[in-house]
Amino acid sequence: MADTRSLERRTPAERPLSPHLQIYKPTLTMMMSIVHRITGGALYFGTLLVAWWLIAATSPTAYARFQWFAGSWIGRLILFGYTWALIHHLLGGVRHLIWDTGRGFGPSEREWLVAANLIGSIAITVLLWIFVLLTMGVS
């Protein structure tokens, strides 16, 4: 007992710790890894919207309430964010599946993949919303 205690006291406090986020220079691949997790977490709660939409469809009054929410500016903002998170996480998932096969890790390939992920998700989201708003006759 006494032995271990003296051993503990002799152990220097500054043991090497595993380096964490703040020690690295931020890179695009790293930020996109974080964004993948954040969008996943957002979609987790966004699934509530899908469940609400489906259960609301079973009754006219409930559906009217859902449509009112979906048409309000806050509802549209949330749905726009949900669309982007969904598409971003989907494309990010494809990127991770490619990486799972051991491909796409080269210096230019990985940068290209994350850039395509980001630009692709924004472009698809905007195009989808333009399409939907145009076909719905913009209200």
Binding site: R37, G40, Y44, V50, A57, T58, Y63, L86, G93, L97
Partner: protein, 130 residues
Amino acid sequence: MSGPAHMRTPLARVRGFGTAKSGTEHFWRQRLTAVANIPLTIAAVIILIMLMGRNQAATAQILGSPAVAIILMLFIISTVAHMKIGMQVIIEDYVHEDSSKLTLVMANTFFCWAVGAVAVYALLKLSFGL
């Protein structure tokens, strides 16, 4: 990681399940549902866009039609399974205290099953009778 080599039985080594006793099951199921989610999400988005601006009666009728209801049920089940694993990984990464970790992992499981049950119930109701 798993103690001195001689502490492990040959069976434990062969199984390769490690301390979590589940091996790579979570890893594999996360990939499986991820692959399933790609076509299912695209289909769900197309269905959603098709239904935008329609009234409840028309929406209910389309949602309750066999192909749409089945695709959306698969989408819900795969999504809920995927997000249960994903959130559990997040919890295990950031919550280190045992009791709160267990509570959150449990709450996560309940939440995912509840959301899945509500959505599947709605689809069954739309399919088989209002």
